[in-house]
Symmetry: C2
Subunit: 323 residues, 2 copies
Amino acid sequence: MTARPLEGPIVVTGGAGGIGSVLVERLLADGHEVRVLDNLSTGRREALPEGQGRLRFDSVDLAAAEPPADAFAGAREVWHLAANADVRRGVREPRADLENGTLATFHVLEAARRAGVRRLLFSSSSVVYGRARQLPTPESYGPLEPESLYGAGKLAAEGLVAAYAHTYGFTTYIFRFANIVDGRMPHGIVYDFFEKLARDPARLEVLGDGRQSKSYLRTEACVEGMLTVARKVAEPVNLYNLGAEDRTSVREIAEKVVAAHGGRARIDYTGGDRGWVGDVPQQWLAIDRARALGWSPGRSSTAAIDATIAELARRRGVGPPRS
Amino acid sequence: MTARPLEGPIVVTGGAGGIGSVLVERLLADGHEVRVLDNLSTGRREALPEGQGRLRFDSVDLAAAEPPADAFAGAREVWHLAANADVRRGVREPRADLENGTLATFHVLEAARRAGVRRLLFSSSSVVYGRARQLPTPESYGPLEPESLYGAGKLAAEGLVAAYAHTYGFTTYIFRFANIVDGRMPHGIVYDFFEKLARDPARLEVLGDGRQSKSYLRTEACVEGMLTVARKVAEPVNLYNLGAEDRTSVREIAEKVVAAHGGRARIDYTGGDRGWVGDVPQQWLAIDRARALGWSPGRSSTAAIDATIAELARRRGVGPPRS
């Protein structure tokens, strides 16, 4: 494959995280020079591929201040994926998403503006929709009433990105993700269930009544979706949902993980329609807009979950009892 | 008139501002005890009425830190109206709305949460809609792509307010205002035109091509609208547009101000469809929801502008040439 012509390095914030590291790998494979900024709170240095001289890593706390000017100098674009990755954290730490979401995004935008970088891609989330009354939910849905501080941080960041597009001439991309899953990510529903079963193989506690139902997308498909949109459109603000065609329930996932783990655990539901304060129990994104650009999620939510369970079971060396 | 039973003082941030001071006057008249927090950047101490012992004023910079705990202790509700009042300021000072909009709102919400105050009313703005493709624009319109940093700050604050409702059990009100006008406000289009004519009575420079068209609401009607909604509904998030039935163009306003000023000035348009970077040239809010609760804007946009021009002409002692 011939690499596209390069026009300066690509900055990826949160590049050591679950989605960022897959994106970075892909960008390097496409022949780009990549600069990763990550505070390594969730991301791991080891998740980054060998860069063969084309990967630079800086440990930077974007919440505290603007990143150093040289990190953005000459860059062709910025992928801003850095964020607090734990939606539940905001309940006990209301500043977490303000700082790692809103302020970090402001600092990244300001650094880009000062450095003359005018292309920015931002990973938002389905949680900005809150408890949407329309499912599947299109990008034009309103009003946006996030349930969590995490969602408020994403919405604030979206507003900043749009304002920088219209005020300072940025070309921007806002991606609202469904739940992104794969076997390497050290968080998410499948990972959490395996963790719980590792601690107590006889019992799996599930938050909520298990009827929460959401769509799930594999990390590779998510990255492919962003790259497709970024290649095809260039409005000041390009807003796209990225999710799957279908969705699957927490109960189904719990039963599958228990089966993959040996099938001996009892499942206990804590009850209530949401898993935790700030949870959005029903999430299902309309993905017609991204599909119209030629992208496809590749697998159903069910298949994405199945693949992730298989990966985690393999990694952990667990499985159904052999007969 | 019998005052409603009191259940603790009412906190009004930005209470010395153009809208806040009218609200405070009304709350005092209704028999409430009021605590005003204002940094007096736009607000004026003199704008506050005599409180007869029921009004407390604190000069507080909400952008810098949470307000002192005693300001919120025992309060029944918080009206959060404080903000940067100059939409254009964000272009040259990107931090202005982040600090006076987003951070100030976060600090107010946190202070309310810590003090156990669970009712909050917030003054948002039509600018969160950006250049809406639907006019009149309903509350359910999306996607929200603010044009200005001011709009981004309002959207961020809306998200925080909604998240506090769903995460911490607040009952919240979000009001998206049209342009609010009256003769006492030291800013706004009518005020700006009179200021320009005071400097040069022969020429009025108008930003843009004059075809920008927006709806205007008198401050008293705006305050009445908020009080009506606050009395009638109590969902976790109550989102209401407050505007007029019609709209009026910048050109019409310019011609009326020139006539009121003596009719001698030449009007020069700077051209372009927006008045400034971040301006939303077409603004017209659907107000069916607030109307359904029994509220009415009282006057048309045209009548609101006419009344404001008459007030400013009287204050400044200008008028058409006597024949």
